[in-house]
């Protein structure tokens, strides 16, 4: 606030101190801590699924069809969340469903994010014909219905987890590209980019060093939205029978199966739906917190 002294006192903090502040900033946000914990539990559940599930998720037991959750009348402690129409254990199925959902969400966001960010950086930084070409491509992509693309890919290439990720990844890159491009357009005129060019820094180094780190905040925002959207989209595809093979357990497939019994056995549809909601909420909240942390201005000294 006062007139600055020409020589600064030595910084108390070094790189380690800095890492501490990142952690502290993250922990200060209580909601983020809860979201992060939920996400950690989900990831653990996905990884350890075969070890922790009480039953084989595909094991049928027609004698115990549509059993209610344990705490309801007629429920049994053997099946905490009840059973579905084929007598399969709901808890085991919900836990297994985490695997596909997280994999699809992360995979699609990673694929779309990589493609979209690359396109946005190139289009925004170089401008001219590469920009026009890439942005027209983006328009075409947007005009093309995602569901049609899904149908085409799955129809021609066959179904499977990999193809679902591919479809969701390639329908999602446009929003990354657009946001990154517009950020780069304004960054490109900033003095530090001009100075870097004046020094003789190569275009690749400018993109890597000066542009990419400065678009991470909006990227984190879109990526979290996209992870959540991809998880829901996978569920919709599975619901339509376009997703992964029937024997792979997915929340979307469970929802589809359960809808027939909503009136009589609500738990068959509600638990996978609840899992879906909690997951996307946790991802979104974590993304918000990450975005704040990624900004050096957010740390307090």
């Amino acid at each position: 606030m006062t007139v600055t002294s020409p020589v600064l006192p030595a910084a108390a903090g070094t790189a380690t101190a800095h890492r501490h502040t990142v952690l502290r900033t993250l922990l200060r946000n209580r909601l983020a801590v809860v979201a992060l914990a939920v996400l950690a539990v989900l990831v653990l559940a996905a990884v350890l699924a075969p070890l922790i599930v009480p039953y084989d998720p595909n094991a049928q037991n027609l004698l115990q069809r549509l059993q209610p959750p344990a705490w309801l009348a007629g429920g049994h402690r053997a099946h905490l969340l009840g059973t579905d129409e084929l007598g399969r254990d709901m808890l085991s199925r919900v836990i297994y469903g985490t695997r596909v959902s997280l994999l699809v969400g992360a995979g699609a966001a990673l694929l779309a994010g990589t493609v979209g960010t690359a396109v946005g950086l190139v289009a925004g930084y170089f401008g001219g014909w590469p920009d026009r070409l890439l942005m027209r491509l983006a328009d075409v992509q947007l005009a093309f219905p995602a569901i049609l693309l899904a149908l085409a890919v799955i129809g021609f290439l066959g179904s499977g987890l990999g193809f679902v990720i591919l479809v969701l990844g390639f329908t999602g890159w446009v929003s990354y590209a657009r946001v990154v491009r517009s950020e780069v357009l304004s960054l490109r005129t900033r003095d530090f980019v001009t100075e870097a060019r004046a020094i003789g820094v190569t275009d690749t180094a400018i993109i890597r060093r000066h542009l990419l780190p400065n678009v991470t905040a909006p990227l984190a925002t879109i990526a979290t939205l996209h992870v959540a959207a991809a998880i829901v989209a996978e569920a919709s595809l599975s619901y339509l029978g376009l997703g992964v093979p029937k024997e792979t357990v997915t929340w979307g497939g469970m929802l589809a199966d359960g809808q027939l019994y909503l009136g009589t056995a609500w738990w068959v549809a509600v638990f996978p739906g609840l899992a879906l909601m909690i997951t996307s909420l946790a991802v979104n909240l974590t993304g918000d917190a990450l975005r704040d942390v990624a900004d050096p201005k957010a740390y307090r000294r």
């Binding site: 606030m1 006062t2 007139v3 307090r300």
Partner: protein, 268 residues
């Protein structure tokens, strides 16, 4: 010549900015007064609290984080820090108006220039459109905007920086305020344009017997326009003096350093 009574009086003003884990005391007990027909310059460097002081007069500091733990700002027998929002709204733009540094960001880019000048009249005085238009055109003419009829219909981006600042001044004057607070009104402008705007402010003050509070970092601008000067540093007033005394016999060490650092055309 008898000294008229002060029109606006700031008494022991304190302004705090309460952030998450700290409180910044931006203004720490500032007292000043300004009389009709007088230009008072408040001069200081960034972080001196001069802008926070100026914005306090119309309570324009964002609340929160801003708070006024102590002090009074007296105008017309009222304390502006405690009058109800409704009453303050009637004072803003009508009795006391402000001109800001950057005419590009303080004008609405999507509204015609004329409408923005006339806004105060329509809003405060409830004038019908034609009467407001007439007064706005008069004000635009008075601040030296050539061909006001044509400019009235234009958008801010169609005007040069100097013309935009004239528009801002016209908008501030059209309600015939008794106090004009100008916060760095020429800092964003070229020298030749700055000269015109300073001349304009001095002329208007004389003609309308207004009290002008000029917030600036530039002692040369102070020398050109002010009658009295308040020098601020780190939220406090270090010196209050008549402009001639201040430049001839700066009493405070900080003022002397500021004077020494001010670049001048003649080699010293």
């Amino acid at each position: 010549m008898t000294t008229p009574a002060p029109l606006l009086e700031i008494d022991d003003l304190r302004v705090d900015f309460r952030l998450d884990d700290t409180t910044v005391h931006a203004v720490r007990g500032v007292s000043l007064e300004v009389r009709p027909g007088e230009t008072l310059a408040v001069v200081g460097e960034s972080g001196s609290g001069k802008t926070a002081t100026a914005l306090s007069v119309l309570r324009l500091n964002p609340e929160p984080p801003c708070a006024y733990p102590a002090g009074a700002i007296r105008f017309d027998g009222r304390d502006l820090l405690t009058v109800p929002d409704r009453e303050l709204g009637r004072i803003r733009g009508a009795d006391i108006s402000m001109v800001f540094q950057d005419p590009m960001t303080s004008l609405d880019p999507l509204q015609r220039v004329g409408a923005q000048v006339a806004e105060v009249l329509r809003h405060h005085h409830g004038l019908p459109r034609s009467a407001a238009r007439h007064s706005a055109l008069e004000a635009m003419d008075e601040v030296g905007i050539p061909d006001p009829e044509r400019r009235y219909r234009q958008y801010p981006h169609e005007l040069s920086g100097g013309l935009r600042q004239r528009v801002m001044i016209a908008a501030a004057l059209v309600g015939r305020p008794r106090v004009l607070i100008a916060d760095e009104p020429t800092t964003a402008l070229d020298v030749t344009v700055q000269r015109q705007i300073l001349d304009l402010l001095v002329g208007l003050r004389q003609r309308h017997d207004m009290a002008v509070v000029l917030i600036t970092h530039d002692l040369a601008v102070v020398a050109e326009t002010a009658d009295r000067v308040v020098v601020m540093n780190a939220g406090e007033i270090v010196e209050t003096a008549d402009v001639h005394d201040l430049f001839a016999r700066p009493a405070h060490d900080y003022t002397r350093r500021l004077l020494a650092a001010t670049p001048r055309l003649e080699p010293a």
